[in-house]
């Protein structure tokens, strides 16, 4: 009888230890996840043809983990730009940025929709700037016609988590 109760107590203790161990596993997994997290900073800039005017800017910072895509959509009157960035951390410590850019635009007066889809694979270092020109790189002739130039800047840095206070 006594042995049976001792066994029951031991089983209870084992269950408690198992529950605690599972909790530790999850915490460790979360810590590993956050240690590998990346911040993807995406800035959009529109440069007017007149160099004296200030460029229009917008920025977005997304948190992700290697292999998980960050998606940004830019919506304009006649243009829609869709950028999907997936960072991968290589064994060397460098980041391989896989990006897909999709651009829809209409040119008045025809209002005919056009579509570009491009795929890029860019090895980058942490903090290095990657530039994306969804509508192409403006040349002098385009500037003379008063066209605006749009560029997106992508920067990937390791996520710095806040230390617990």
């Amino acid at each position: 009888m006594v042995i049976r109760r001792i066994v029951a107590a031991l089983l209870l203790m084992a269950a408690a230890v198992a529950a605690r161990a599972e909790d530790l596993d999850i915490t460790e997994a979360l810590k590993a996840l956050l240690d590998n997290a990346l911040e993807v900073k995406i800035s959009a800039r529109i440069f007017p043809a007149d160099a004296e005017k200030e460029p229009w800017t917008a920025a977005s910072t997304r948190l992700t983990i290697p292999g998980r895509a960050v998606k940004v959509r830019l919506e304009g009157d006649n243009v829609q730009i869709y950028l999907i960035c997936t960072p991968y951390v290589q064994e060397s410590g460098e980041v391989l940025l896989l990006s897909q850019g999709q651009v829809w635009f209409t040119e008045p007066p025809e209002k005919e929709a056009k579509y570009f889809s491009t795929f890029y694979s860019v090895p980058v270092a942490y903090g290095e700037k990657v530039l994306y020109f969804p509508l192409g790189v403006s040349d002098a002739a385009a500037k003379e016609q008063g066209y605006f130039n749009i560029e997106l800047e992508i920067v990937i840095v390791p996520y710095q988590k806040e230390e617990p206070q």
Binding site: R5, A9, L12, M13, A16, D23, I26, L30, L33, L34, A37, E39, A44, I46, A51, W56, A59, S60, T61, R62, L63, T64, I65, R68, V70, K71, V72, R73, L74, E75, G76, V79, G101, V103, F105, K114, F116, T118, Y120, V122, E128, K129, V130, L131, Y132, F133, P134, L135, G136, V137, S138, D139, A140, K143, Y147, N149, I150, K161, E162, P164
Partner: protein, 185 residues
């Protein structure tokens, strides 16, 4: 020849197949002796059906007690929850302390997994602080929180209205160093 009693009983119970059942039926119709046997069988069946089911438990208990008294059987064990437990006081106290400690540890573990949150603080696009909190017990919830840090999976940036955006070439992507060689401005 008259059928025997077993066959008559089976016929009464509907257990005789065709065509034998018809032959028995014809015979019973013409044989007073068999009809008389059938009526007795029917009377026995009615009596059995109408009689209350006897309660055999007292008799079984008496038999069991008798067997136990003679050492031929053992008293059945009582269920665990009805057993009487007698422990020395120090052992009982130690067991109580142990149970309380275990319960406390389990409760702390549950509370930690339910309310323990991972807090992520970063600077958002507008310079405001964004906090993401997710229970540490659920990795998938954390991932969803990471994805939905700004409310949606896709970040939407609305471009200004007064700009004229037209393609001036093919889309291009590269590092700043690579691009700087070909940027016209």
């Amino acid at each position: 020849m008259c059928p025997d009693r077993e066959i008559l009983s089976a016929w009464l119970d509907g257990e005789i197949d065709t065509p034998w059942d018809r032959e028995i039926e014809d015979h019973v119709g013409s044989c007073a002796d068999c009809r008389d046997r059938l009526e007795r069988l029917e009377a026995v069946r009615r009596t059995l059906l109408e009689a209350p089911v006897p309660d055999w438990r007292p008799a079984m208990e008496r038999v069991r007690s008798s067997l136990v008294a003679r050492g031929l059987a053992r008293v059945p064990a009582a269920p665990v929850w009805r057993r009487h437990v007698s422990l020395p006081l120090p052992a009982a106290a130690a067991a109580a302390v142990l149970i309380i400690l275990l319960a406390g540890a389990l409760a702390v573990s549950v509370v930690r997994s339910t309310f323990g949150m991972v807090r992520i603080t970063r600077q958002g696009a507008s310079g405001t602080e964004i906090r993401i909190a997710a229970p540490v017990s659920d990795l998938e919830t954390l991932l969803r929180s990471l994805e939905g840090g700004n409310g949606t999976l896709d970040e939407v940036i609305v471009l200004p209205k007064d700009v004229r955006l037209v393609p001036v070439g093919e889309p291009f992507m590269g590092t700043e160093t690579e691009i700087s060689r070909r940027k016209p401005w």
